[in-house]
């Protein structure tokens, strides 16, 4: 087994195993573009950068998807969120209706309330019947006794962007009329509030992730640059223009970022399969296709930006090369 012992410097390392002339190095050619422009070597550094950027983009995409799903879920859900406000009735139809209307007006004025509906007695009755076991209609004297004691019910639908204090506000407004809010439904509101908090958390996470990504990409590209610092320095010593020095790195960064974006997008699919039935169950429609372009462009942009950052920092170190 022959091992290159003079291949000790970083970029000299051409992996070779065995002393047999398996592949002639003379024949080994870099893939060259027709213009004579030769592609930079694709080594461990590039791989690592690709993997890192891909993972970062993947995480961002994931967070974004989560955001999308959660907001879709809460929105589909928010439409069904309703409070019930119960008002003790006196039995006199006229006054009762007036009081209900007044309360409805008051509730409507509460900020964050989208609509208030007076629930007809029949509906309450059906519901009660259903609750009692669905054993047919409430009839006869039982109905006579029961129905008057049913409270007047108002259904409050919060606006989609309703504040988180809407429940408290509604409860306060209702208390003024001696009405009470269904306490059991408070939990639902709490869950909703929780969802919105989770959503803001997701935004926060996406932001942090994005920042971390920019740092990592720029550092990784800087490392690539460092590994080819001698190339840059040599070009400068030969009198190369700055764009001539930077362009390959910018291109490389952009290409790498775009590739990583594509990879990250592809990696989103298996995850979607895993949670697919769950999403269907929740009736949430998440479109991954839409993410392709942002991930591609975002990756390319991040790559270019990182390369620019990296080359600029390098420039400030060495440009005044005299």
């Amino acid at each position: 087994m022959s091992v290159p012992t003079n291949g000790c410097r970083m970029n000299r390392r051409v992996e070779r195993r065995g002393a047999q002339p398996e592949r002639s190095q003379q024949e080994r050619q870099m893939p060259r573009l027709p213009g004579g422009f030769s592609l930079p070597p694709f080594g461990l550094h590039q791989w690592l950068a690709l993997v890192i950027v891909c993972i970062a983009l993947w995480a961002v995409g994931l967070l974004w998807l989560g955001l999308q799903a959660s907001s879709a879920w809460t929105q589909s859900w928010q439409k069904d969120v309703r409070f019930h406000v119960y008002l003790e009735l006196s039995g006199k139809k006229q006054t009762d209706n007036e009081r209900l209307e007044a309360l409805a007006g008051k509730l409507q004025a509460v900020s964050g309330v989208a609509a208030v509906r007076v629930v007809p007695q029949q509906e309450s009755r059906d519901w009660l019947n259903d609750w009692l076991g669905g054993s047919g209609e409430i009839t006869g004297e039982m109905a006579d006794e029961l129905l008057p004691s049913l409270p007047g019910t108002l259904e409050v639908r919060p606006a989609t962007d309703g504040g988180e204090f809407i429940y408290q506000d509604v409860a306060d407004a209702a208390a003024a009329f001696g009405a009470s809010v269904n306490r059991g439904e408070a939990h639902l509101v709490q869950v909703q509030r929780l969802m919105s908090q989770l959503q803001s958390l997701l935004w926060f996470g996406t932001l942090v992730m994005g920042l971390a990504m920019v740092i990592i990409i720029s550092n990784t590209l800087r490392m690539i640059l460092l590994a080819r610092a001698d190339e840059v320095q040599l070009m400068r010593l030969l009198g190369a223009d700055e764009w001539f020095v930077h362009l390959p790195f910018l291109l490389e960064g952009g290409l790498l970022g775009a590739l990583a974006g594509l990879l990250a997008w592809l990696l989103l699919w298996p995850l979607l399969w895993v949670v697919g039935d769950w999403l269907i169950q929740l009736n949430v429609d998440v479109s991954v296709l839409i993410l392709l372009l942002p991930l591609l462009l975002g990756g390319a942009l991040a790559g270019c930006l990182g390369a620019l950052l990296a080359t600029m920092r390098m420039a400030s170190e060495n440009t005044v090369a005299l």
Binding site: R12, Q25, E27, F37, L237, G239, L322
Partner: protein, 249 residues
């Protein structure tokens, strides 16, 4: 006033005839080491100049000043009329494109082929891609490595690497060639061959400044000699060709 303007023009003419002009040049490295201490010398256009001196005398440091690798601490230094203590990055780039440098450590790019290495100065100068291979082959032929065009430098012997570095420096026919011990790793025959080629370039108009400790080359390839010692010029020998001698001599 008139005399002043005249003098300035005359000075410029003189300067332009001079490839390199330095006066009390000092170079102090950040480590505190004074590599050059008050060096004064002129090198005319078309000269073939040898820099000699013991190891650590300041030969490489002087060459480094000439291509703008380090900025002198004090004194005056002009190369091709460009003041290297005040030069902007734009002017420096233009100057460097006209200088071919052979570094003491060859500084080949080990991740690129020999061709890419040799063609790099041409690329920098914006040559058409289709002319590159022909030119690289031609230059490599002079150093006897035409068949290694597509090798990687790591598969070359020490002397072959040095010859590739020489080929790179010459590939764009610069008007100034700075060579730092170009024959350090070469056997005598190959060294003489390389020197022949350098002399040929010199005859074609290039100025050559070469740091070397191999004084045997001087027998067959004469030139001006500048002897350095501890950062100062101690000896200066000007070579005058027989056909250039004054008739009364």
């Amino acid at each position: 006033m008139f005399a002043d303007a005249y003098m300035t023009r005359a000075m410029r003419l003189v300067t332009v005839r001079r490839m390199i002009e330095m006066r009390r040049l000092m170079l102090r490295y950040p480590t505190g080491k004074t590599a050059l201490s008050g060096m004064t010398m002129n090198i005319e256009k078309g000269c073939f100049a040898y820099l000699t001196g013991e190891s650590g005398a300041g030969k490489s440091s002087l060459l480094r000043c000439l291509y703008g690798g380090v900025r002198p601490s004090s004194g005056k230094l002009t190369v091709q009329g460009v003041d290297l203590r005040k030069v902007g990055s734009r002017q420096l780039r233009r100057l460097r494109r006209d200088i071919g440098i052979i570094f003491q450590d060859h500084r080949l790019l080990f991740s690129r082929t020999v061709f890419e290495n040799v063609a790099l100065p041409l690329r920098v100068q914006g040559w058409k891609p289709d002319r590159l291979v022909a030119r690289a082959e031609k230059v490599l032929e002079f150093v006897g490595l035409k068949d290694r065009l597509w090798s990687f430098p790591e598969a070359l012997s020490g002397g072959e690497q040095q010859r590739v570095a020489i080929a790179r420096a010459m590939s764009s026919k610069p008007s100034l060639i700075l060579a730092d011990e170009p024959t350090g790793n070469l056997d005598i025959d190959t060294a003489r061959h390389v020197m022949d080629y350098l002399m040929e370039l010199n005859r074609q108009g290039s100025t050559v400044v070469m740091a070397t400790h191999d004084l045997h080359l001087l027998e067959t390839h004469p030139g001006d000699i500048f002897r350095l010692h501890a950062g100062a010029l101690t000896e200066e020998l000007h070579y005058v060709r027989a056909d250039e001698r004054m008739p009364h001599e």
